[in-house]
Symmetry: C2
Subunit: 477 residues, 2 copies
Amino acid sequence: METLIKPASGAMIESLQRTLGADAVLLAAQDQQRYLTDWRGQFQGKALAVLRPSSVDQVAGIMRACHGSGVQVVPQGGNSGLAGGATPSASGEQLVLSLERMNRVRLIDPIDDSMIVEAGCILQQVQEQAAEAGKYFPLSFGAEGSAQVGGFLSTNAGGTAVIRYGNARALTLGLEVVLPDGAIWHGLKRLRKDNTGYDLKQLFIGAEGTLGIITAAALRLYPRARQSCVALVAFGSPRQAQKGLARFKDELGEFLSAYELISQPALSLAQSHLHMAPALLPDAPWVALVQVATANSSLALGELVENVLASCFDDGIAADAVVATNERQAAAFWRIRESITAAERAAGKSVKHDVSVPIGAIPGFLDAVQQAVGEAHPELRIIAFGHMGDGNIHLNILLPADAGAQHLAAALNTLVHDIVTSFEGSISAEHGIGQYRVSELIRLKSPTEIALMQKIKQALDTTGQMNPGKVLPAPRD
Amino acid sequence: METLIKPASGAMIESLQRTLGADAVLLAAQDQQRYLTDWRGQFQGKALAVLRPSSVDQVAGIMRACHGSGVQVVPQGGNSGLAGGATPSASGEQLVLSLERMNRVRLIDPIDDSMIVEAGCILQQVQEQAAEAGKYFPLSFGAEGSAQVGGFLSTNAGGTAVIRYGNARALTLGLEVVLPDGAIWHGLKRLRKDNTGYDLKQLFIGAEGTLGIITAAALRLYPRARQSCVALVAFGSPRQAQKGLARFKDELGEFLSAYELISQPALSLAQSHLHMAPALLPDAPWVALVQVATANSSLALGELVENVLASCFDDGIAADAVVATNERQAAAFWRIRESITAAERAAGKSVKHDVSVPIGAIPGFLDAVQQAVGEAHPELRIIAFGHMGDGNIHLNILLPADAGAQHLAAALNTLVHDIVTSFEGSISAEHGIGQYRVSELIRLKSPTEIALMQKIKQALDTTGQMNPGKVLPAPRD
């Protein structure tokens, strides 16, 4: 790998100020601050400058100026990531390149069911523009009010509708990318089928800005739902919840757009955080939030759900259920699910895991963690919830507020990740690696896999200037 | 790029015979013959030997022996490809590596909806094994009785169910791959969500064996349909057929598993090839074969289809329709669609195009081709059909059986591909590049895209030994 280490010159900054305009080059500490830390305040860095280009040509110009200069570039979207992937290092020698000004919707095509959006568009804006065109963009997660296109693609974000529509990767038809040397790859095709050589967009999706800078994307749209039905279903165990999932997939698989598992501790925590009376299924050890939806207006969706629930009751799979009878109630059910994270934060420190296992392995995995943590630390509370239909569990452990918490957190991380690995699972289902999980990635991936990743990195980012230290260790580490 | 050109020694062959067994190393011309040509007989090559390993360790051993020796390797599956991707060159110095003996189903997990199959499993066998476990593997196309897993993944095959389930890529959860140096990448995870670094499987899917050898895959399964409904719908034009598609997507999008457009010339050709009376919609310029299916047994699927058809008639979108009233009739409708290729072959030579455009651009694209071909060659018949729901049209032109046909074919290729390109389409929607379309790929892709592909190739296949001359030009070309 070529490594050209040369301190950034004032001349480069001056030149960028001239070409981008002074307001696109932030140098003052107070202007830079919000770009130097992630939203949870867990990662903190410094920057030579924060750049805010407003066109793909400006991004290309920046990269041409940086290429071979030794100046490293950290691309940044809405800064809502959970693994520090968009936070610069502490060196103060990196440029943060925010895409926030590239926020145009370039095209919506309701016949083709596609749209082209720039990297700085906010997810909620994408959802709303799709809805205005009578269509539906399915990606949805807690931070959708601030997450940007470039960020959710670079982390291959998941969220609550993956069971039906897939991850961000599955929703992407094409990309426009500025490469490390400043060349622009115009890959914004809107095709469902294109087998003309290597599928280059796949390289940049989920690469967390380490291979190039996504500046725009062609995304898939779907028909808008005309009716939906949301239920909370009580189960005695994860295994029963899994049987319920199988029943819903088998009978209403086409409509199933969410199957969120919530443990009673997570449910109670959220309900009390929302000052809700714990009236909803208080005796259920596990609850699933089930949503079905369809664009068809004539089907009796509620009746179909009642049928599946009845068969679950008859066969002793589910103990109880509450079906939302109106939109307000459905929204309240979702609010419980979505406030678990905030409720957890209010309850104190916790060590978080975003893991996945094969769907059939979820009950065994949860048992194994419960047992291992229970033996080592019987006093700790486990808050488990997540996207059961995707095998993705958020397994968080509340920590005591004492001095040893940092050490304990690391030990719990190792413990949980080792169990995940024994179930052939993933230590980062949807949050990515960023800087937070690099050492665990190196510890748990095979050397063959790490070597393959490094070959890709070296082939596309020959000078190692793209977001170094994210996903893979920086060369000097 | 390192290039080590050293003629293969007899010693290497002897060593392979010892380690693989003599019956796994085919040297005689009559034994090799069926591996040296594709099923349509359009490509022909020679081989130093045809190797038939029966385990991933044997594949790894072969690659270790070849690595750095200068001997090139051509991986081969069921040999049903349409672009010569698995046919060796004429040099007689390449090894053909057939995966046909690696044909075990390693695992079927009906709870996780996944299975693990080796590269040599035949697609139909995969479908049948899934069905025996009460599940459904949706990939389906004409050559499913001979196509193998390694081949349909290496070409990212499409077929008739892409509109609902996506291409082969979308059906893949994980891969086991032998790399050019003989290292094995054990990437057979069965996860719906895994964001731990670059998604390496994406590199090998659709790479046509130029980056490594897929030896096994973890595939997604779906609930088995309990009912389906097939109809032929008559339209006055592709634009009307597109409105029909929009209507079906909007009302029955969840169930829509095929929407195949067939022009009247294609329909007539197939019907007369099958010795069928042309009783089915004889006056329709265009016909769509529509299929909806669901795992739900209680829905009145036929009634739902009738409703959509009625709304199409009311609004003047569709002129007529025939709904299959039993399985025999549904199969007959499909037989028409599936025999177009054979009917075409029986009618003489043709020049074939496997192209895609954005779905909304299909009518304009078909008009443009009709006009351009009509002006230049008013005597030629165009046979258009394909997967309208995916924007994928097979546009074939019947050629006169005279001496100038070869030259004419090349001219028509250029003409059609230029029109495709002007519509931001793809010159190979689902068949791949192989050796057949390399020159067109180089002519029509941007230099930036070609350079990116070459960087990937050089990074993973440093000695250029993997299937050279496929997808990208061989270094000496």
